[in-house]
Symmetry: C2
Subunit: 202 residues, 2 copies
Amino acid sequence: MLPDAPRIAFVAYDRMTVLDFIGIYDPLTRLKSMGFLPALTWDVCAMQPVARDDRGLSLNATRFNEPLGGYDLLVVPGGFGTRTLKDDPRFLAWLQSAAPAKLKVSVCTGALLLGAAGFLRGKRATTHPAEYDALRPYCAEVVARRIVDEGDVVTAGGVTSAIDVGLYLVERLAGPDVRRKIARRMDYPYAMPPDSMVTPGP
Amino acid sequence: MLPDAPRIAFVAYDRMTVLDFIGIYDPLTRLKSMGFLPALTWDVCAMQPVARDDRGLSLNATRFNEPLGGYDLLVVPGGFGTRTLKDDPRFLAWLQSAAPAKLKVSVCTGALLLGAAGFLRGKRATTHPAEYDALRPYCAEVVARRIVDEGDVVTAGGVTSAIDVGLYLVERLAGPDVRRKIARRMDYPYAMPPDSMVTPGP
């Protein structure tokens, strides 16, 4: 399991889908802002100081062009930028520097980046439903579910699944009661059908 | 109704909840990026060049410290920053410069800012369920629903209602078929119960 003071690396890059990022950033960072895991820390990690989406929005890295070795939890969003970054040796080497992280998570086509970095080898995984074929070469099996939890790697479906996987991780890190409280503060009335998830099993 | 080439002002400010912003930004900007309203334009409008949330994330305005008179649609997110901005004459004067916008929308406690600017006078409205009392002085009636549509003003509930109201506005601007296509691309399987919404009616 993760330590009580987990350090999160939220990865950002050009042409990402910002909702992939913010949808999981919001519930996870509430673990700290609402006082449940006060020692939680995180960075917005990128190769450049500014990450621009494909529509004109830009956000600022808090740490850039530094290796990702010091984190417990790696979070990788998706977006059109993945289509070139998955074949970019410099980006992949940077992502691979996160290998020591005990938990690696992707949203949407972020799975293509986890896969290209080698983190999905031998594992089941999911991604945006339109990109299952693109994911197949990188993993043992693509599973058509909203969340696939392989213990040390968790992959999620398209864009808005960011919120569901964020709340799922909140529960893994802090329990079901904290998840309920954070979901309520986020005014989130929805719950995934049980069959939309794969969890590690016997 | 709005023109075919609507101009959107997404308002950003310090200590906003970024998911309030991005949850509505994603579906609305897909009207352009997916080719349904190619002439749609928008700005990220703030009083300063950079808007920081309450947790360490910052994003960059595309237009700052300029009046908001040139837009058709005003979008105001919520966040802790609203608690001071609702009494900040300089910020309110800036927001009031958006008065000509034919449609004004808030997410979460963004309703307090629309209210403090005078845009909810005589109207029904909603906000985050924990802040109904704070909204009451600014509107005719607080309605405990996820979306309240008063025609020229639409207010939504807490944080994640941003996505629901974004898709609702997509339908108002481009019809139910476009809404379905955008929701599918966002991999959004949820639908609000019909009684969670108030629409203009006799």
